[in-house]
C-alpha cells in the first residue's frame, strides 16, 4: 500500500527536524507509543498500541533512520508485528520551508499482512491518514515549544483543538478553502 501525504507545520524547519529525530519527542508524539528505546545509531525498538476507535492492537517493532540530511530529508524504515498482523515499510520524508511554514512531504510503501490486512483492508488508508495527522499536529506543538519550557501535553482533545485552530488560521489567511 502506498502511503503519501503533505502536512503544513507552523514552526521553523530546523526545529521540526530536530523534533522528528528526537526519540523523547517521538515517544510523546507517535499515537499510542508506549516504549521507544535506542538500540544503535539512529535505530530504535518500540511498542505501539495503535488503532482507531475501538479497533486497537499492540505492535512491537523496529524503527531505523537512514540517509539523514538535516534539516531537509531522512528515510524512515519500520517493521513491526503484533497479534493483529504485521507491517513492513520504508518511506522518504522531506521538509521544505516556505514563509516560515514547514511543509512536510512523505512518500512510502508499506506492506501489511495478517488479520488486520485481510479484514481491515478497506480502512487501512484512512487509519494511516488519521494517525499521520495526529502525529504531525503533535510534532508542530513540540517544535513551537521553547527549549526551557516543559514539553506540551498531547491527547485526543488537545490534538483536535490544535488541528482546528491551525485550520482556522489557514482559512483566515486564505491558504486553504473553508470546508464546503
Amino acid at each position: 500500500m502506498k502511503v503519501e501525504g503533505t502536512h503544513e507545520l507552523h514552526a521553523s524547519r530546523d526545529r521540526v527536524f530536530t523534533a522528528l529525530i528526537d526519540p523523547a519527542v517521538l515517544q510523546r508524539c507517535i499515537p499510542g507509543c508506549e516504549r521507544l528505546e535506542k538500540t544503535g545509531e539512529n535505530a530504535y525498538s518500540t511498542t505501539l498500541r495503535a488503532g482507531v476507535g475501538s479497533i486497537k492492537g499492540v505492535f512491537t517493532g523496529n524503527v531505523r533512520l537512514e540517509d539523514v540530511q538535516p534539516p531537509s530529508h531522512f528515510r524512515l524504515i519500520v517493521d513491526g508485528k503484533g497479534q493483529p498482523g504485521f507491517l513492513k515499510g520504508a518511506g522518504d520524508i522531506n521538509l521544505d520551508e516556505r514563509d516560515g511554514v514547514t511543509v512536510i512531504t512523505y512518500n512510502g510503501e508499506v506492506q501489511v499482512g495478517g488479520t488486520i490486512a485481510s479484514v481491515g483492508q478497506r480502512m487501512l488508508q484512512g487509519a494511516v491518514k488519521m494517525m499521520a495527522s495526529q502525529f504531525f499536529t503533535a510534532i508542530e506543538a513540540e517544535a513551537k515549544t521553547e527549549a526551557h519550557e516543559p514539553p506540551p501535553k498531547h491527547g485526543f482533545f488537545r490534538t483536535t483543538l490544535r488541528w482546528l485552530s491551525g485550520w482556522l488560521r489557514r482559512v483566515l489567511k486564505g491558504t486553504v478553502q473553508p470546508l464546503k
Partner: protein, 288 residues
C-alpha cells in the same frame, strides 16, 4: 474466532448503564446488536475488558412521532425500520436505507444506534442520518445533550460521543413539501458494506424546481460527509438531466478519497459521481 475473555454486564435501565460506563471509562464497551463489535472481538481486533449490554433494556427500541419529529430508540433494529409502514409513508429514506444493510441476519440483530455510534466509514446509516439532518441524543453522567448529524461524525470510527456517553435516541424532523428521497449504494460483494452509498433528501417547488437538497455520502472517505457543493449546485435548478449531471460532478469536492484493494481512490471518486447522479434522479422522480 474466539474472543478474548471479558466481563458481561446487563443493566436494566439506561441510567444504570451510564453509571456502569462511568465506573469503567477505559475498558468497557457498549453492546447493542453486536454486529460490528462482536466480529471485531472474535478476530481480537477489539479486546474490551467489559461489555455493557444495553440490548436488554426495555423501551429503548421504538419508532415514535412526537412534536413534528420522528424519534427512533437506539436499539431499534434495521429490520424494524425497514418494516415500518408509517416510516415508508412519512420518511421513505429510512426504510429504503435499512433494507440495503448487510444481510437478513445483520438487519434482524443490528441496531441503528450501534451503527451510528460505531461510525464505520462504509456504514449505510451515517449517509441517511446526514441527509435527513437528524439530531442524536446522547446521555452521560452530566445528563443529556443533543448533537447535530453534521457535527456527530468526527473521523473514522470516531464520533462526537464522549467516553462516558451512550447514544439514546435519533430525532428527525418529519419532512414536508413535495418530497423526494433515495438511497443508492454499490455494496462490496463479500461484506455488503457500501463501496459508495448516496442518500438524497430533496424537495421541489410548484414549478418543479429544486427547493432544497440535502445529500449524505458514505464509503468514500474516512467518514460519511455532507456533499454541500452538490446541494448548492442543485438548489434552484430544474432537476433536469443537465443540472443533475453537472451537480453530481461535485460529489467528492474537498474530500480526501480513500482506496483499497477492491476499489482504488480514482474508481471510488468516479462511482461517487455516478451514484450521486442516479440517486438525485431517483429522488427527483419520486417528488410528485
Amino acid at each position: 474466532m474466539i474472543p478474548a475473555q471479558f466481563d458481561y454486564l446487563t443493566p436494566a435501565t439506561l441510567a444504570e448503564a451510564v453509571s456502569l460506563l462511568g465506573q469503567h471509562p477505559d475498558d468497557a464497551k457498549i453492546l447493542a446488536g453486536g454486529h460490528s463489535l462482536i466480529p471485531a472481538m472474535k478476530l481480537r481486533l477489539a479486546t474490551p475488558q467489559i461489555l455493557i449490554d444495553i440490548g436488554r433494556i426495555k423501551d429503548l427500541a421504538y419508532i415514535r412521532e412526537d412534536g413534528g419529529q420522528i424519534r427512533i430508540g437506539a436499539t431499534t433494529t434495521h429490520f424494524q425500520i425497514e418494516a415500518s409502514d408509517r416510516l415508508r409513508e412519512i420518511c421513505p429514506l429510512l426504510p429504503e436505507c435499512a433494507a440495503q444493510i448487510g444481510d437478513v441476519q445483520v438487519r434482524n440483530k443490528g441496531t441503528i444506534g450501534g451503527s451510528i455510534a460505531h461510525s464505520d466509514p462504509a456504514g449505510d446509516w451515517p449517509a441517511a442520518i446526514i441527509a435527513l439532518g437528524a439530531e442524536i441524543v446522547a446521555v452521560g453522567g452530566g445528563g443529556e445533550r443533543v448533537i447535530k448529524a453534521d457535527d456527530f461524525f468526527v473521523d473514522m470510527l470516531t464520533t462526537a460521543l464522549d467516553q462516558g456517553e451512550i447514544l439514546r435516541e435519533i430525532r428527525i424532523n418529519i419532512p414536508s413539501g413535495r418530497l423526494g428521497q433515495a438511497y443508492l449504494k454499490v455494496p462490496q460483494p463479500a461484506s455488503g458494506f457500501a463501496v459508495v452509498g448516496v442518500a438524497v433528501n430533496l424537495t421541489r417547488d410548484q414549478s418543479g424546481k429544486c427547493n432544497s437538497a440535502s445529500i449524505g455520502i458514505t464509503g468514500v472517505a474516512s467518514k460519511a460527509y455532507r456533499a454541500r457543493a452538490v446541494e448548492q449546485a442543485l438548489t434552484g435548478s430544474a432537476l433536469d438531466d443537465e443540472a443533475t449531471a453537472a451537480a453530481a460532478t461535485h460529489a467528492t469536492d474537498g474530500v480526501s478519497v480513500n482506496g483499497d484493494l477492491y476499489a482504488s481512490d480514482a474508481y471510488r471518486r468516479h462511482l461517487a459521481q455516478v451514484y450521486t447522479r442516479r440517486a438525485i434522479e431517483a429522488a427527483a422522480s419520486r417528488a410528485k
